[in-house]
């Protein structure tokens, strides 16, 4: 009942005019970035971070979280109406969603996608509400050896579940960890890799790197492609699904919720993985699987529900343990740190108004999103008529100004551009940039935990095995590593090939 009274207090925080307004702005902007191909939720969040400087921490996280889960709603619009995924998690929705549009059932597909997203998102928030405090209470007992072991398994999971093979993801993680060491060593004060540049004494800024790699990198990639767009029109009266479609969507929606919630807890591109796994599951359970790809409503309901549920449950390790499991939660963590709030085991107990205010705002945000994505879907579709050759210079300028506004540093603009080029190169070479960003952010914590553990044990590695939690996590890490070696050697299964191609 503690949870319910805390939630009640959370609603008191969230239901102020300012926080409702910020939640609305976040959801609206999130839907816009989800609808527009070429700009994803990560770029959308980083672009608005400078706008949060004048806000309190609660308002800032409410708005930024709204962008994150709002983008999951918006991404399905272009997938269904144009066969172009607005966001990577909506790739699989193109398969059956666009076919439904060609059959004149585009409106019904949009409705089912929004409806499933709302149910998946809302139920996932219920899970978040109970699981995050439980995890936080458990993690308070963690010392440096346990934290090191937890982050080690998180990185190995990230390598296992990220795009591409494990042995392709690991060097990206190593590169991110190395970049994370730039700056002053917190334990000894020694400068590492700064070469006398004062702007690097505090390390490489995560926001210029994230904005560059994802924002500018995506633009550089998108400008190579032809941008001829045919936008299907949807009338309001065509939005409602028929009885058969509604009946067929219930099973996938509830299965997608459970699947998405569990996968969202794992590091990596959880929202992308969850949509693919849901689609595969629905196809396997269907009486006539050969009809998938021709406009089956299950092919829309399941994946869209799963990706929303995953985006909400990804907040659990981020808020409860202080471990962001994806690039978007990682950037939200940076935003919270800027406001002096540190997510982690003590976050919920020390900042309950921020945590419960966020939870309550997520319920409100999901309601706002279903209103935005159904009756107002025509407005967002019209955004797609704005030529990309007008949009991309404006987005570039916003990235530049946004970065400059952080510290008025030209060095950070150079880092932004360099990261953009690096992100573009890695995209062309089919290397996933998300693990690089995550490693950069979490790496310093991993190093600190490792060195502190050895300092406590007078240099003995047995400290990692004396703690049952640390020992279990390290053994699991080793087993997972061995499994990844086995997976790299054996032939790929059909669903693994499909997932790689989709990504």
């Amino acid at each position: 009942m503690d949870v319910l009274s805390n939630l009640f207090n959370g609603f008191q925080t969230a239901l102020t005019f300012q926080n409702i307004y910020l939640c609305f702005i976040g959801c609206l902007w999130g839907t816009v970035v989800g609808v527009l191909p070429g700009i994803g939720p990560l770029a959308g969040i980083t672009l608005l971070i400078p706008a949060t400087f004048g806000m309190d921490a609660t308002g800032a996280i409410i708005m930024l979280a709204g962008i994150y889960y709002g983008a999951m709603y918006g991404g399905s619009t272009t997938s269904i109406l144009m066969n172009i995924p607005g966001e990577s998690a909506s790739v699989v929705t193109c398969i059956d969603g666009y076919q439904m549009t060609r059959k004149g059932r585009g409106g019904a597909a949009l409705f089912i996608a929004a409806w499933g997203s709302w149910i998946g998102g809302t139920l996932s928030i219920v899970g978040l509400m109970f699981l995050a405090p439980f995890l936080a209470n458990f993690a308070v007992k963690f010392g440096p050896p346990e934290m090191f072991a937890l982050l080690l398994i998180a990185f190995i999971l990230l390598g296992s579940l990220g795009k591409g093979s494990f042995f392709k993801t690991v060097p990206m993680i190593l590169l991110g960890l190395l970049i994370g060491t730039i700056g002053m060593d917190p334990l000894t004060g020694t400068m590492r890799f700064t070469h006398g540049i004062k702007d690097l004494y505090d390390g490489i800024g995560f926001i210029p790197v994230a904005m560059g790699a994802f924002g500018i990198g995506e633009i550089l990639t998108s400008t190579e492609e032809s941008l001829v767009r045919f936008v299907s029109k949807v009338k309001m009266r065509e939005l409602l699904p028929n009885r058969e479609e509604l009946r067929a969507s219930w099973g996938p929606i509830f299965r997608g919720t459970g699947l998405g919630f569990l996968i969202g807890l794992l590091p990596g591109s959880a929202h992308v993985l969850s949509s693919f796994v849901s689609y595969t599951l629905e196809k396997r359970l269907a009486k006539r699987p050969e009809e998938f790809g021709t406009g089956r409503v299950e092919g829309v309901a399941g994946p869209e529900t799963a990706n929303n549920a995953a985006s909400e449950s990804a907040m659990i390790p981020f808020l409860g343990l202080g471990i962001p499991t994806g690039p978007a939660p990682a950037v939200m963590m940076i935003a919270l740190l800027i406001h002096g709030v540190r997510p982690g085991p003590l976050f919920i107990s020390e900042q309950p108004q921020v945590f419960w205010g966020l939870i309550a705002s997520m319920y409100i945000g999901n309601v706002i999103l279903i209103i935005l994505n159904l009756p107002l879907v025509g407005l967002f579709v019209n955004l797609l008529r704005v030529p990309f050759r007008i949009l991309f210079p404006v987005i570039l300028l916003i990235c530049l100004v946004g970065t400059y506004s952080l510290n008025s540093s030209v060095v950070e603009l150079v880092i932004l551009l360099f990261s953009g080029v690096l992100g573009y190169i890695f995209r062309k070479l089919d290397f996933d940039i998300a693990p690089f960003i995550l490693a950069m952010i979490i790496g310093p914590t991993l190093e600190m935990a490792f060195r502190q553990s050895l300092m406590r044990s007078a240099g003995s590695f047995s400290i990692f095995f004396k703690s049952p939690i640390a020992c279990t996590l390290i053994v699991l890490s080793c087993l997972l590593f061995i499994w990844n070696i086995f997976r790299a050697v054996r032939p790929k299964k059909a669903w693994e090939k499909a997932l790689e191609e989709g990504e």
């Binding site: 042995f167 060097p171 400008t223 404006v394 530049l400 300092m455």
Partner: protein, 157 residues
Amino acid sequence: MCKGIHMSKERGGSLIFLAAGIYGLIFSIQLPMGRWNQPGPAVFPLGLSVLLCIFGISWFIQGKGQGEKKETASLRGFIQKFTTPIKIVGLTAAFILTFELLGYLLASTMYLFVLFLWVSRYRLWTALVLAIAFGAGSWFFFEKLLATPLPKGFLSS
């Protein structure tokens, strides 16, 4: 006469990892290693650099025999394929180098104008109108509404 480039994607990535690993090795061995009971600032970056070099070398060797088609291209063909991104990077670099000197309003308008004209291929007057509209609009949004301190350049004197 340009020679063909035999380069798989894995090899391309391996060169980046190898370069980062070598850079990390060179500069981290100059840092204090510390002792077992007090690991110094060199330990972590040194270990990472060694691993990056190992992965870089192994991907370079593996990249030779990958199943995908080897890309053979002349240098001219390579540049033509990436003309638009190269233009954007070049213009953005020029903007970064000049915007504190010229001031945000002037630099952003010029930057947008060249992008709209040269990259987006709009006509001269269309590019000019769009550049002024978005340049001034962004200045107003960031400087006035969000109170972001932006450089005024030589216009401040």
